[in-house]
């Protein structure tokens, strides 16, 4: 990448935000959740995707926050929005009607098909731990054309099968039998897309036509084998393109001086 001035020093969260921002194409209608997704969309709008539109599920459509929101219900989300509406509008008037190109989401556990669990640890009927629950994760993931998950890379979180499918990946369950089938088979003509990337503190993963996750790039300082060792499933590393592009000095400056100057998500 000739001509780019890459940052010498950055923190793992900085690279996560920058890598996520690079997933935004100019003009995308983006549905973002609380936390790093807020940094990613704000950074993208200030760099490569000035015409991207941000929707937060609590009701703000194309807000222009001048102070970073701390949650999607925050009044800061709605500052200079084109519409300040509610959940009926965001879930049905924006998502279900097909506007949403890209979604940024998180998860506690993920499997190789991109199924995500944010509900319980263990058997749902007698769980050992309860997480927050689905929130809008499965709704947004089931209907956005592309979904990018931002997660912490830990072996126990990258599983063969998640304990509970909160959010639908590429191979999901067809009820009432519960057999696993391709997402297209469940969604029929309602199908729009699905998980396109997973970004962690170690690597960027993508999904093949078979709906299975593979290693795309490793972050500087890590090897493909280390990433594979941090997955419980057998990760395909044969298609790894090399290193994830580092953040530039300009991107780090924007993140710390313009997007999150108060140190909310980037302490």
């Amino acid at each position: 990448m000739a001509g780019k001035n890459y940052a010498e020093k950055y923190k793992p969260a900085d690279l996560l935000a920058v890598a996520a921002a690079r997933e935004v194409m100019d003009g995308d209608i983006v549905f973002a959740g609380t936390g790093l997704p807020m940094l990613a969309i704000a950074l993208a709008q200030k760099t490569s995707a000035p015409n991207a539109v941000c929707i937060y599920e609590a009701g703000s459509i194309d807000g222009r926050p001048i102070d970073l929101p701390t949650s999607v219900g925050d009044s800061r989300c709605a500052y200079q929005a084109s519409v300040a509406a509610g959940l009926t509008e965001t879930f049905y008037g924006q998502l279900h009607c097909g506007y949403v190109d890209l979604a940024f989401l998180g998860g506690a556990e993920i499997d190789k098909y991109g199924n995500v669990n944010t509900t319980v640890v263990g058997d749902y009927s007698s769980p050992s731990k309860r997480f927050t629950g689905s929130g809008g994760n499965p709704d947004i993931n089931s209907y956005a054309k592309r979904t990018v998950f931002i997660m912490v890379q830990e072996k126990r979180r990258f599983k063969d099968n998640v304990d509970y499918i909160t959010s639908p990946g590429w191979r999901i369950r067809k009820w009432p039998s519960g057999e696993f089938v391709h997402k297209k088979e469940v969604y029929g003509k309602f199908f729009n897309g699905g998980p396109s990337a997973v970004i962690t503190n170690m690597a960027v993963f993508r999904f093949g036509d078979d709906g299975i996750m593979y290693l795309d790039t490793v972050h500087p300082g890590f090897t493909a084998e280390q990433v594979k060792d941090n997955c419980l499933f057998d990760l395909d590393i044969s298609r790894c393109k090399g290193e994830t592009e580092r953040p530039t000095v300009e991107e780090i400056d924007l993140l710390y001086k313009v997007v999150d100057p108060e140190g909310i998500f980037l302490p």
Binding site: G59, G86, L87, R130, T132, S134, G136, P138, D139, W175
Partner: protein, 325 residues
């Protein structure tokens, strides 16, 4: 022209019976009727059935106090200020609370059907998930889908084939019509017209779906003022049964253009909520240690409330320290 039925917070909480089904206004840690939550706890309500499009600090407080038997929703936590709903998690793990999980948009579908007088609402969102796993229908497992409770639908959902455009299978999600909507609103007019500022969340649907509506109003204003800009209002007076005027009635959750979320207070509560012993200590101080909302505000102190006060142009506080810089 009809006037609002204005009552006190104690009278409002007195209307709620053990076992009633409730829903609330707001979104996670914004515009929650917390003053009413505290008063219901002081009055010792039991076996409440909550339907929430999403939960938050208010429901964690109510659940921690042992007031809730059934929780139907999709999410509970404190956003940035506490990552889990510890009280609910304890109740689900030890089996004392029946949890029925839907997705967020499915919860909205339930509320929409309820608001519009429909038995169900169709959606194609969140298909293929364990939310629809028949083995995980906890209300059915508890034997509560037998029709004996008119607030509990006979089925959690139904799959149908689109009979109109042949688009394939999709879901019918049952309506919800709770006994009560307890709604915190920014302004209520003297005839009951309701206005909220900024995002309206699901507040209008929550009002319409419930049998009876209690509004906890930050302020009561002349109805004529609200009628000068009718497009900004979310409900007409005939949908509202009772109004209580409670300044800072949403604290510690935020109310756009009045005050920000009290992050430190929510963080402290979240730490306390991690065990029932520490919850009890917290409740003894902040709920049972005061006899009224006025005493609660006095205990919070004027400096704390002043720091939370919203900038009247921006709609949020510019005085609270939110991050590390």
């Amino acid at each position: 022209m009809s006037k609002i039925n204005q009552i006190t917070l104690k009278e409002a909480a007195g209307l709620i019976k053990d076992g009633d089904m409730l829903s609330f206004s707001g979104f996670t840690i914004w515009r929650r009727p917390t003053a009413m939550i505290y008063e219901m706890i002081r009055q010792g309500k039991k076996n409440l059935h909550l339907f929430e499009v999403n939960g938050g600090t208010h429901s964690e407080i109510l659940i921690g106090a042992g007031c809730v038997k059934i929780w139907e929703s999709c999410w509970i936590g404190h956003e940035l200020y506490g990552k889990l709903g510890e009280s609910l998690a304890r109740g689900q793990v030890d089996g004392s609370i029946i949890v029925e999980d839907y997705s967020h948009a499915q919860c909205v579908a339930r509320q929409l059907a309820g608001a519009y007088g429909l038995p169900f609402f169709p959606t194609a969102l969140s298909m293929g998930t364990d939310i629809l796993n028949p083995k995980y229908d906890n209300l059915a497992k508890a034997g509560l889908r037998d029709g004996s409770n008119p607030k509990i639908p006979l089925k959690k959902y139904e799959m149908i084939h689109d009979p109109m455009y042949d688009k394939g299978e999709l879901l019918l999600i049952p309506a919800v019509n709770p006994d009560w909507a307890i709604v915190y609103a920014s302004q209520v007019g003297t005839e009951g017209t309701v206005r909220v500022f900024s995002q309206c969340y699901v507040d209008a649907e929550v009002i319409k779906a419930a049998d009876k509506v209690i509004v906890i109003a930050e302020e009561i204003v002349p109805d004529s003022y609200l009628r000068d800009d009718p497009a900004s209002n979310i409900a007409a007076g005939h949908a509202i049964d009772y109004v209580v005027q409670v300044p800072f009635g949403a604290h510690p959750t935020g109310s756009q253009f009045y005050y920000d979320c009290d992050a430190a207070f929510i963080r402290d509560f979240y730490s306390a909520s991690k065990s029932s012993d520490s919850y009890k200590k917290w409740a003894d101080e902040w709920i049972f240690g005061v006899s009224s909302h006025e005493e609660y505000l006095e205990k919070l102190g004027v400096n704390r409330l002043n720091a939370l006060k919203a900038n009247t142009v921006l709609g949020y506080s510019t005085n609270v320290k939110r991050g590390t810089r």
